[in-house]
């Protein structure tokens, strides 16, 4: 015989619309919340995550997103879709640089490489910023799937034993 759960522990099944909103969050942080009508929350989450992600890229340059050398970190970074485009662009620049010149440093008169790889602390901080931004975006995606977009009705009388 099925046992009825109290209202506070009942989990509402996520609709197809919520999954579309989660994909939107993956494409652009905060967009899923905006689509669900949570405008303030969407802007706060979106701007903060994009600032962290962009800050990480500015700190270490495109070389901090490198799927061939930092696969574990890339798992976190790819939770924001634009990271995949940056990784692809990084690979393209790296391949072009190695094809035209090889691994040796630039000689005098040769054009400068299209990017400068980061080492040491800047590479660590850039990787950390971008990967943490991705993991925060995963939290936002999960939140979008399970969030009820309807505002709570505060005029409804509180029942005994029901959480506030």
């Amino acid at each position: 015989m099925p046992v009825a759960q109290p209202p506070s522990t009942r989990v509402r099944p996520a609709s197809r619309w919520h999954f579309i909103a989660a994909v939107a969050t993956w494409l652009l942080p905060g967009l899923g919340h905006l689509l669900l009508g949570q405008r303030a929350r969407g802007w706060i989450i979106g701007v903060t995550i994009l600032c962290l992600w962009g800050g990480g890229l500015a700190l270490g340059g495109v070389s901090v997103i490198d799927w061939s050398r930092q696969r574990a970190w890339f798992l976190g970074q790819m939770l924001i879709a634009p990271s995949i485009a940056v990784a692809w662009q990084h690979d393209r620049l790296k391949a072009r640089y190695l094809l035209t010149r090889g691994p040796q440093p630039a000689r005098e008169g040769e054009p400068e490489p299209a990017f400068e790889p980061a080492y040491g602390r800047m590479a660590e901080m850039g990787t950390l910023y971008t990967a943490l931004a991705g993991m925060l975006n995963l939290l936002a995606m999960i939140d979008v799937i399970y969030r009820d977009p309807r505002p709570k009705d505060k005029s409804k009388p509180q029942l005994a034993g029901e959480p506030a």
Partner: protein
């Protein structure tokens, strides 16, 4: 400045690392602030409480990191 110049300048920001190696520890502050804001923006139903709640979490994370750093330093000192 031409639009192409603006694009080149913006692209230049992401093609080379910033020279902030000597200040790397301070870079943890915006990172912790970002984590606090996003976590609390997801957790709270009422966003008017967000600034204080995020600040409170920010301080909590920093204190815990300081405590962990002190503990690790102590272990290293005792071991050497």
């Amino acid at each position: 400045m031409t639009p192409a110049g603006v694009v080149t300048l913006a692209a230049g920001l992401f093609t080379a690392p910033l020279p902030l190696e000597h200040y790397w520890l301070w870079l943890l502050l915006p990172l912790v602030a970002g984590v606090s804001i996003v976590y609390k923006a997801i957790k709270l139903d009422d966003l008017t409480k967000l600034p204080w709640q995020a600040f409170y979490l920010f301080v909590q994370i920093l204190l815990f990191m300081l405590l962990a750093a002190a503990l690790i330093w102590l272990i290293v000192e005792l071991a050497s």
